[in-house]
Structure formats: C-alpha cells, structure tokens
C-alpha cells in the first residue's frame, strides 16, 4: 500500500516537473525569438551573422562549463585522495567474499586469469571463486575444469549453462554464492594480489553498498593502446575518484566491482536487457541510498582493443548501454530522497556520455566550417589548444595520483611521465575526437532505436605475460 502511495506521489511530482520544464522551455524559446528580432533591428545584422554569433556564444558557454567541470573534478579528486587513509582490516575482521566470473570464449587467457584469482593475498577460507561458463564454443570450460584440481585449498565452483548473456550468468553465480561480499570480475581481466583487502576495507561502513575498483590497461606496447591507457587514467578513473568523495560513483565497472550481497538482493540483480548492466545496477544502489565509492588500489589489468574497429565496437556498446541505463533510471531525478550529489553524479553521466561529446563535435564542425568558408583558421586552433592544456594538467595530476596505486606490479610498457606532453597532443587531436564521434553516433542510434548486437571484442592474449612480470 505504502509503495503504491509512493508511486502515486512520484507520478504526480513527475507530471508537475514535466509541466514546469515545458513552460520554461516555451518561455526561453519566446525570449530567444524576441532577442533575435531585437538584435536584428538594433544592430542590423543578417540572420547568418546572428546564427554564427549565437553559436560562438554557445560554444564559449560550453567551454566555461567544461572548465568548471575540470576544476570541480580536480578538487573533489584531491579531497578523495586525502580520505583514503582508511586502515586495512585485521585478519579476523575480513569478510567472506564470493568472486563471480562469467566466461564466454576466453580460452586464450583464462588460465592466467584463474591463476591470479587463486593467488590472492587473502585468507583462503574466506573467499570462494564461482566461474560460470556461459555456453563457450572454445575450450574455456575444459581449461576452467582443470583448476578444480587446484591444491590451494580455495573453494572453486564451476557452473555451465547455455549461452544466456553476461547478466544472467552473473545472476546465476550470485544465487550460488555464499559470501557476504560479491566481487564481480571480467574473464579478460587479471586481478592484482592485494585487491581484495583494499576493496573490502570500505565495507566496515554499513552504508557502503558497492566499491568500484581501478581498471588499468596491460598491453601498452603501441601508441594506440597508450592513448587508451591515458583515457582510463585521466578520463575514467579520475572521474571515479572525484565522485568517490561524494560517495556517488556512477559506474562500478564490470571488470572489478565489489558489492554487499544483501544490498544486491534488495535492489535486484543484474538486468539483462541493458548493455551497461553495471551502470544500471550502480544507479539502483545509489537510488536506494547507499554509498558507492572508488578504491584505486583494488586493481585489475585488462587488454585494450588493438584496432580502431574493435575500439569503435566497445565504445559504441558502452555509450548505448549507459544511455539505456540513464533512460531506465530517469525517475531518480524526481525521487524525493535524491540528494544534490546524487543528481550531480547522474547528470555527469549524461554529460560524459553525450552532452560534452556532442558539443565537442559541433565545435569542431563549426570551427572547421569557419576555417574553410571564411579562412578563420585560428579559432579551431585556440579551441584545440585550450582543451589540450586542460587535458595536460589533469593528465599530470592523474598520473601522479595513479602512481600510488601501482600495487607492486611491474609493467615495463606503461606510460612514462616524459611521454605525457606528446601523448596528450595526439590524444586531444585525434583520439578524443574519434571517441566523441562514436559517442554521438551511438546516441543517435539509441534515440532512433536502431538494432545493436553485443559486438564481441577480439583480444590478443597479451595478459598471459602478467604473472611472470609481477614483482614478489
């Protein structure tokens, strides 16, 4: 009854806010039209000039907004950094963990991944591993089967089912789990030794519902992968660290995410209808009022796509998935208990997934047109140069901050500080423009509801070198 009443109240609030937004939009449109005719009369400008002027003002406003966003992220990230002074728990206080891992056609690196799970620095009787083979067509199941005979004394459960998708495989594993904490991990990721201890320490706070880990790129041997590594460091993890200060991290990545099991059962498990099931689940946890934080020292290494086509597939899937999750959880904005920080975190998700990429693309097209039609080349240069400066400053901070989460792992191909200036130049000039274009296409397809598939990404199997290189 109470739930019905709540729904009714939300429905009414939603209607009210919808009408207020509609009235505001109509008001702004009338105001703009009035301003347009006023400018035309007083200054005697043509409509083409007014259009150019308005677009310039608009882009300038977006640039200021971006500057503001960088500043906020930097300050929050610094504050979050000082908060990570939390002590590690004593052995008797460690919670029981179920590591769940869905597997589909991962024969190339599966043994390395399982080996990393069996060699974690955590009491052997306090964690179990549940592997769900989701109908692999290669030898993944046979490889995982061999590990049942491990002599480590760790409980290992191997489940096999017909191919039903990642979300269903994860839910199946959760239903078989016995730990208080669930660690979901991707089967193309290698986990570092101390990740469990660092991730679990936050769960002493009863209000913590989930902890996002730090995803890093292992195969940084080519420029293209180095650019992706920079994006993970400066774009994804940097944002997570900042939002962590507000306890409102908006995506707990599927690659490494810790969840309190009772909360997962309360908010509902993974949703198979959404391509970014991790984002959807995180939003539901946040909506239920729990804290979601980021732990930079809980690290997994993953393989980055080695071709542009594969990167395109990956980012297209991520963007459409995030948009689906955002759409599904939009009632969060009308939720009476939604705090300012929660709304900010939600809006940041939209900003990163669509708003900023669209603006960046529009700016590039606009300045390119100005250059080609009127010969105003420096505008494009100024736009690019200002963004590059911003990227460089945040990349320097993210680099130094990321250094502290090395977690005793050795990777001789990783980005060096001296690489940063050149890398950031190419990053902004080519890489981010490419990523933003993909995001805009993905957004348009999501709006038009065009068909999409999971689009599997090929990996080269370079993670196999991981255990050899880890320092003891």
């Amino acid at each position: 009854m109470k739930e019905l009443l709540d729904l009714n109240i939300y429905g009414k609030m939603r209607e009210k806010k919808f009408f207020i937004t509609l009235i505001l939009l109509i008001g702004v449109t009338i105001g703009c039209l009035y301003l347009l005719s006023f400018i035309k009369e007083k200054i005697n400008l043509s409509y083409a000039h007014i259009f150019m002027l308005s677009l310039t003002v608009l882009l300038l406003s977006f640039f200021i907004l971006l500057l503001f966003r960088y500043l906020i992220i930097l300050i929050l990230s610094l504050l979050a950094h000082f908060r990570y002074k939390r002590e590690l728990p004593k052995e008797e206080d460690l919670k029981t963990i179920s590591i769940i891992m869905p597997v589909y056609n991962e024969e190339k690196i599966l043994s390395t991944v399982i080996n990393s799970l069996l060699n974690l620095n955590y009491p052997k009787d306090k964690y179990e591993i549940i592997i769900v083979d989701d109908g692999s067509k290669d030898n993944s199941y046979q490889i995982a089967y061999q590990f049942l005979k491990n002599e480590k004394g760790i409980k290992l459960k191997l489940l096999r089912q017909e191919n039903q998708g990642k979300a269903k495989a994860l839910n199946r594993a959760i239903s078989e789990s016995q730990g208080e904490i669930i660690l979901s991990i991707d089967s193309d990721c290698v986990i570092t030794k101390n990740s469990l201890i660092y991730g679990v320490r936050h769960f002493r706070d009863e209000k913590v519902g989930a902890v996002a880990g730090n995803v890093k790129i292992w195969n940084q041997d080519k420029l293209f992968m180095k650019l992706q590594a920079l994006e993970y460091m400066e774009g994804l993890n940097f944002n997570r660290q900042a939002l962590s200060f507000l306890n409102k991290v908006n995506i707990v990545p599927g690659a490494i995410g810790f969840f309190r099991k009772e909360i997962l059962e309360k908010v509902g498990l993974y949703n198979g209808n959404i391509y970014a099931e991790d984002c959807d689940l995180t939003l539901r946890i946040l909506k239920a009022g729990y804290k979601v934080i980021y732990e930079p020292k809980a690290v997994v290494y993953t393989e980055a796509p080695e071709s542009i086509a594969c990167l395109f597939k990956q980012r297209y899937r991520w963007t459409r998935g995030i948009l689906q999750a955002v759409k599904k959880n939009n009632h969060l904005l009308y939720h009476s208990k939604a705090s300012f920080s929660l709304i900010l975190s939600y809006l940041l998700l939209i900003y990163e997934a669509f708003f900023w990429p669209a603006m960046n693309l529009i700016a590039h097209l606009f300045f390119t047109l100005l250059a080609l039609l009127y010969g105003f080349i420096p505008f494009l240069f100024i736009w690019w140069f200002s963004l590059t400066l911003l990227d460089f400053s945040s990349a320097c901070y993210a680099y130094v901050s990321d250094k502290k989460s090395e977690n005793n792992t050795y990777n001789n191909k990783k980005i060096l500080f001296s690489h940063l200036p050149l890398l950031v130049l190419i990053y902004r000039l080519f890489y981010l423009l490419l990523i933003d274009t993909i995001k805009v296409f993905a957004f348009l397809e999501e709006v038009l509801n065009l068909e999409m598939g999971w689009q599997r990404i090929k990996i080269a199997g370079k993670l196999n070198g991981y255990l050899v290189k880890e320092k003891v």
Binding site: N150, K152, L158, P378, F381, L429
Partner: protein
C-alpha cells in the same frame, strides 16, 4: 609568431578533417556489418538446443576440518 600559429592551425584543421571523415567511414562500415549480420540471422533456421547444466565444486578442507 603569426606564421607559426597559422601553420599549427592548418595542421589541426587537416587532422580534424581527416579524423571526422575517418570516423564517418568507420561508422558506415560498422553499420553495414550490423545490418548484414542481422539479415543473416533472420535467414538462419534456429534449432532448439537441449539445455545443458553442469555444476562442479571443489573444496579442499583445512587441516583441522579434516579430522
């Protein structure tokens, strides 16, 4: 100084144009591939597979549990 900025601007403009055209081409190829795949799937005769389900559990008890 002015010449330097003009040259740099021209480079930025060139790379921007190439990236934009390149992204568009990649997108078109990507979309064509999805459409082709979906057409193939439509033509494929789906056969129902028998559900397979296996569970294996391995647990090495600790020394004190063995007794």
């Amino acid at each position: 100084m002015k010449e330097v900025i003009t040259i740099l601007s021209a480079i930025v403009l060139g790379v921007t144009l190439i990236t934009l055209i390149f992204s568009l081409v990649i997108y078109i190829l990507f979309r064509l591939k999805i459409n082709r795949k979906s057409n193939l799937n439509d033509k494929k005769i789906t056969t129902e597979k028998e559900g397979e389900e296996e569970i294996f559990i391995r647990y090495q008890p600790k020394e004190n549990e063995k007794n």
